[in-house]
């Protein structure tokens, strides 16, 4: 029997019963039974992907993101191990600070993107994607061999709930004594939330809005209690439960990468344009040599933002062509943007097509639909003083 036999049964988070009880449309995502969107009801007057997306942009929404994974590295050489296996510089992290990073293959391509959190002196937490839990754990364990540290797979231990939007802090503040105004973006702390002590509260997210992610025990009763408490606390702000549909359109407007689309095991960190998080001079890391070589050779393709300027919606996997119809690249993610009210996409094109205002064409069901290259992110949240 193969060691890599596929798991065929679908996985459920501790909040699955609540999603179904709320009438959510469910979908299988990377082996998980997840809500796509929630319907409007008699009490919750708004619903559906567009309403959920707008709730996050204007006020607050909550997401069950428990399908994501958690790997902890603890020990005297935990930092050294993390430095070796990731592309960003984790030595810059203070306890309580987090950074966006990635695990790379020797080719400079992606095992996964991660958020690295420094929990303690020699204690790091990697939060990883749903579809890559097992692969990442195996990879991290392999990379950590030879370093004095322990690698723990904590993925099943936590229910992870994201509360996102300009009013996220107001809603969550009602449930915790921790002064949320003191947590800076991409920092985290531990405190009591809904009566649960030592709960990690991180000012992180995947929506291009302000917001928090909390990690509570994956027990069904506890998880439901917390979800319901946040729903109630957020009611005065018009909080909506949000599914993977809105999660995708929100991150797309923010030009945030999705594994399997903008980043994958056949795309390099330089092609994906993640140079802000790629620290060549932090020391040796897996993938550095290949990336240095690519940097010297020059890129054959680069990630750009597209906006349709003719009628049509560019979608994942569609061909990108020059205006004569010659294929030059492909769309990684594309969709209508509910807040921006445009049809947008991320795509790989050769560098000579990457300048803003360049015109390309996306092939949509046999027709060439003109799009222009635009700067990313498509959306940046407004700076508000609290």
């Amino acid at each position: 029997m193969s060691q890599n036999a596929e798991v065929t049964s679908i996985r459920k988070t501790a909040l699955n019963r609540i999603h179904r009880h709320m009438g959510a449309k469910m979908v299988e995502f990377n082996g998980w039974d997840m809500p796509v969107e929630y319907p409007a009801t008699a009490t919750r007057k708004s619903g559906g992907l567009v309403a959920e997306h707008l709730a996050v942009r204007h006020s607050v929404g909550i997401f069950d993101v428990s399908h994501m994974g958690d790997i902890r590295l603890v020990g005297p050489q935990a930092l050294a191990a993390v430095q070796r296996m990731t592309m960003n510089d984790a030595s810059k992290l203070t306890i309580g600070q987090a950074q966006y990073s990635a695990l790379l293959y020797p080719e400079g391509t992606f095992v996964d993107d991660v958020i690295v959190h420094r929990l303690g002196e020699n204690d790091y937490l990697l939060v990883i994607n749903a579809g890559t839990r097992e692969k990442d754990y195996d990879w991290v364990s392999g990379q950590a061999r030879g370093f004095d540290c322990v690698v723990q797979n904590l993925s099943d231990d936590y229910t992870q709930i994201a509360i996102q939007g300009p009013n996220a802090w107001r809603a969550l503040q009602k449930l915790t004594d921790v002064d949320l105004t003191q947590i800076k973006f991409y920092w985290f702390t531990h405190g009591t939330v809904c009566g649960l002590p030592n709960t990690m509260i991180a000012r992180t997210g995947y929506t291009a809005e302000d917001g928090f992610e909390i990690y509570v025990p994956a027990d069904e009763g506890v998880s439901e209690m917390v979800w319901n408490a946040i729903m109630e606390a957020g009611e005065e702000f018009g909080l909506l439960p949000c599914g993977l549909g809105a999660r995708n359109t929100l991150r797309l407007e923010g030009a945030l990468s999705l594994y399997g689309h903008e980043i994958s095991d056949s795309i390099t960190a330089l092609e994906a344009g993640l140079t802000r998080f790629l620290k060549f001079d932090k020391g040796y890391f897996t993938g550095r040599e290949a990336l240095e070589q690519q940097r010297a050779d020059g890129l054959k393709r680069t990630l750009v933002g597209l906006e349709a300027i003719e009628r049509g919606i560019p979608r994942d996997g569609y061909k990108v062509c020059d205006t004569e119809g010659n294929e030059i690249g492909f769309v990684t993610s594309g969709s209508p943007a509910p807040f921006l009210k445009k049809n947008i996409a991320l795509a790989y094109v050769p560098p000579n097509f990457a300048a803003p205002d360049s015109v390309v064409a996306v092939e949509i069901r046999g027709q060439l639909v003109k799009c222009k290259v635009v700067a990313i992110p498509f959306y940046k949240r407004p700076k508000i003083s609290k």
Binding site: E37, G48, L49, G245, N248, R311, I313, S335, P336, R365
Partner: protein
């Protein structure tokens, strides 16, 4: 859900209202509810020949593209231009918002489509 009794239905969730040799076509309340907010409808030009069971266009929600399947064989005579700028009408009034009108090549095709009662049963099973 209530489905107009004088319409005929397909298993792909289109409806057709026959008026002599003219068929008016749209999609059902079940279809619009499954799709979610509709943002784009792509329809054929007048004069296009349709064959029953084949795709005649697409309807798009934010997250997905769905084919529209011709319930009948015939020639497209009219296309609802409103849907180019107000596709959401399909969500709010699915049974009165028409997409295309077709001159029926063979009105007897209507007999093999589902009645409102049969469609209702079909949809209840699919759920």
């Amino acid at each position: 859900m209530a489905f107009p009794a004088d319409y005929k239905y397909t298993k792909e969730h289109e409806w057709v209202r026959a008026d002599g040799t003219t068929g008016t076509v749209g999609i059902t309340d079940y279809a619009q509810n499954s799709l979610g907010d509709i943002v784009f409808v792509e329809l054929p030009k007048p004069g296009t020949e349709l064959t029953a069971g084949q795709s005649f266009g697409t309807v798009e929600s934010v997250k997905a593209v769905s084919d529209l399947f011709a319930p009948v064989t015939g020639t497209v005579t009219e296309v609802n231009q409103e849907l180019a700028t107000a596709p959401e009408k399909v969500n709010s009034d699915p049974h009165t918002t028409w997409m295309i009108k077709v001159t029926l090549k063979d009105p007897s095709e209507l007999n093999s489509l589902l009645s409102a009662a049969d469609y209702e049963k079909f949809v209840a099973e699919e759920h």
